[in-house]
Every structure is written in structure tokens, then in C-alpha cells.
Amino acid sequence: MKFKGKAWKFGENVDTDAIIPARYLNTSDPQELARHCMEDADKEFSKKVQPGDIIVAGKNFGCGSSREHAPISIKAAGVSCVIAPSFARIFYRNAFNMGLPIFECEEAANEIREGDELEVDADSGKIVNLTTGKSYQAHPIPPFMQELIRDGGLIAHILKERKNITSSQMTCDPTGCKVKR
């Protein structure tokens, strides 16, 4: 799977309150959360971002709360993936569970500039800056988490183990998975 889009740059320690402020947590509707995505870091972000675009941020992205509303809002806003030198651990977990691909790569995060056109190969973790021509290699994703992604997220993975059904019988969106019966 390959992602192609424009880079949106953010600083270090982008917290979950900046990604989706708690005042909007009285809902878990992805589209409503998407309208407020990154609002306290960049008020206009949800209006400017285009489907496929990529967030490139500083270290410790997603620090703070455990709210899954954060990766949900990013995914529902159309962002294809996030690149940063490191991610806060609950956000890291949530992103994989929700099927939002994230890539740890310090060099790429430092060198990519706002507006650069990027291409990311999700399987290999190769990041290419099409604007500058430079390519980068993100940290490999652990095999267990690759399995989660292949199965369509954590819940789909569990269902597959439990019911011995294939992932093709399942549809997943940012709030969960449905088994077709």
C-alpha cells in the first residue's frame, strides 16, 4: 500500500488536546471529530487538509490522553499517515488498533518541509520526498503489529482467532469492525 500527499508540519510534543480538544469528546462521530482535527494547533487545518495528505511532526506525537478520538479524527480528516521521530505510547497503540499507519523516522521528520509532496510505502516503510527527491527509511513495524494491520486491526484479529473467519467477511471503519453474517 502506498500513500501520496502533501506534508503538513507540526512541532514537538503535539498533545491529544491539540489533536482533538476535550470539549468535543461528548461525541465519537468520526466526521464531527474530523471537523475539529488539530484545531488548537492550527485552527484552519480541517479545512485545508486534502485526502491523502500526511502529517509530519516532531518527537512524542500524540502525548497526553488515551482518547482514541485523536487517531479517529486524524483518519477521518483524510490524513493517510503520520511521520514523526517518536510517538507517545498510547497513541502508537491506538493508531495501529484503528488502522492509522504511523512511521517513526527522525531524519524525514526533521528534513521534510511544509507543502512537500511525499510518497510512503506502508509495507517497506520507505518515505520519498518527491519535491526534493530524497528518500528515507522508517523504523520497521514489529511483525505482530503487521499481523494486526493485515487482519484489519485488533478487533478483526481477535475475531479471526475466535471464530476462525477470514478478514474478508469483516468491514472496519474508524470506530470498529462489523462481521458480515
Partner: protein, 421 residues
Amino acid sequence: MPRKMTIAEKILAAHADLEQVSPGELIQVDVDMALGNDITAPIAIKIVKETGIDTIFDKAKIALVADHFTPNKDIKSAEQVKVLREFAQQYGIIHYYEGGDVGVEHCLLPEKGIVLPGDVVIGADSHTCTYGALGAFATGVGSTDLAATMITGKTWFKVPESIKFVYKGELGPWVTGKDLILYTIGDIGVDGALYKAMEFTGPVIERLAMAERFTMSNMAIEAGGKAGLINPDSITLDYVKGRAQRDFKVYRSDDGAEYAKVVEYDCSKIEPQVAFPHLPENTRGISEVGNVKIDQVVIGSCTNGRIEDLRLAAQILKGRKVKKGVRLIVLPATPQIYSDALDEGLIRVFLDAGAVVGPPTCGPCLGGHMGILASGERAVATTNRNFVGRMGHPDSEVYLANPAVAAASAVLGRIASPKDL
């Protein structure tokens, strides 16, 4: 010879049914308690329902606590709590709390003996790490992880490396566990313990009361930590005795266990700390704060809403008045704490000082309700986060401090040390 292990490794190994584990290993563990609240549990419940699996792993090992936007602040919040209530009824969840039974989750569960030493606890709330103070491996996860555990009773972990913090010396006046953890975060940064387990040790910790230990473990996540553990001792067992509702096992780190790093602090040199906006790592000693005028003070939360915290605040506020123009909001963290504060006359002290005493709720800590800031306003809070917009308007500011500093600040209308009174 078996590998020497840290407390975190021992608990994880026992719950994975393994003789030993090492950092970096991916393991599946049995969960003793899985927690969700009115923000995170509705998503987990939706996921569980949509899987078509109509059983949960254990109705006694799931806790649902409606504490964030309660008493329900609006229709949407009320709908979210309704989801919890109906799920709890349908599945007979034993530990379901709302209304007059509810308290701030991380104060409520230890108080009721629902989380215990040696447990593996996951919670769809980042401050689940609070229970590390009991010597449990407790960590925050998202709603999908919670859903998976509600179905299977298990979760997966990458065994974390541990960092050992050794606190030596004597605590100065008005220096509390809150100051030790703020100082630590100020020293190592908000990602200083990223992916790692923090272990708080040393003579100062051995003398520290449970309330202050909870405060320290609570904020492990503010340094990026996966857990914040304290080895159980007689203080832990005195606290747990009479509360525990089931058997538990105590684990302690082996001498010679491996740590990624060992950090030592001379606590005699630490003064009360204040974390400036907009990160908990922006700490300064109280003597270096300068003249910062404030509009609001919040005393409460899973960090500092316990009876010991209220006693400390009342000690400062007794016979004094909150500065005109400053709003002091006191939120006892559980019904039991509220009741004790009433019996001890603390509520009278707060009311006489001109404070608003509210119900147990997370409320203003996360900018939910019951004390939201307007643009340009500043608050001193005993809470755990001071991110942009955390307590309200994106142009407002939150300064984190201990309850004594918060109370003194309410009286003087600026960030102040109790010594300034």
C-alpha cells in the same frame, strides 16, 4: 540462575504464565481489571456490540466509571453515560459507578480495593498508571484495546525497559509527592520515559504516604511512561488492608535487576514546583515564579483530590479569604473523600474562605465543565496537564502545583508559596 527482574517484569511474567520476561519481548497477559469511563467506554461498548460476541470475559473484572462529564453537562454527555448504564445492566457489570456513587476513577478504584498490588490493570484513560503506586502494573490504552480485553480478558504488551528513580534526602516545608514528580518531569522531559516503566524508590518514597505515592504514579504518563511503579511495603499493605475484595500477590524488584537508567535526586534541594504553560516539563521552583496573577484555582482531580490534599489546602485556607476576583473551585475526588471532608470540617473551611465546593468529577481538569477558563485567563491547578486549551479557551493558561501552593495562590491572587502568607 533465573534472570533478576524488576517489579514490572515480575508482574508481567506472572500474568503471561512465563518464568521470566525481558524488555522488548511481546507477550500476551491476563488482565485483572479493565477500566473505562464515560468518554472512552462508549466506543469500546460499540465495538463489543458490533462484533456480535454477546459475552464479556468477566463481569467482576470490568469497571465502568462515569466521571468525566458528570453530572452530565449536556445531552450528548447524558447519552454517553446512558450507553454505559445500559451495558452495565445488560451484562451485570459489578463495578459500575455513577450518580452519588461515582468518584474520579483513579481515586475511586484504589479506595474501594478494586485494584490491588500485583495486578495487571488496563484502563481506557491515560492516568490508569496511578495504580502503580500500589505495586500494580497499570497502564492506559485506547477504547479498542479496552474492547478487546472486555471480550478476551487478555491484552498484549511489549515488555518495557525500566528506569529507576532514587529519591534521597529530606523533604523541605510544603514539598510533596506532587513536587517530586513535577521536578522529575522537568528534569527528564515529557518524553523522558517514553515506552518505559518508571520505578520510584529510595528513602523518601519509603516514608511517603499513599496519597502522595498515587500522585507520583499518576503523572508517570506526563513523562511518557508506560507505568509508574512503587514496590509495595507496609504503607501499601496498611492501605490495602480492609479494602481488598479479593486475593492479591505482592511483587518487588530483585536486587540486581536491570535498568535502562538509574536517576538519583537529592530531595533536600527541591522546593515546591510549578509547571508553566503549556507542558508539564516547564517546571520552576516556587522562588523563581515571579509575579503571575491568576483568575482561578482548581483543587481536585485524580492527581490531588484526595483527603490528604484537601487537608493541606484547608490548613492554608483556615481563617483566610480567597482574593476578590479569584475563583477557587474544590472538587473532592470521591463521595467518601467528600464525606470525610465534611466530618473533618474542611468543607466549612472552604466555604468560609469563599470557595465553590463541587461534586466529585474530572470536570475542569480536561476543560469539560464546572470551571472553564475564558481567553486570557490563568489558573493554578492541582491537576496533571497544562496543554494549550486544557481547561478551556485555547488562549487560557494552566499552571500545575501542589494543593498548598494552589491554596496560597487563591488567597494572594498570584502564584504564591504558603510562606508568602
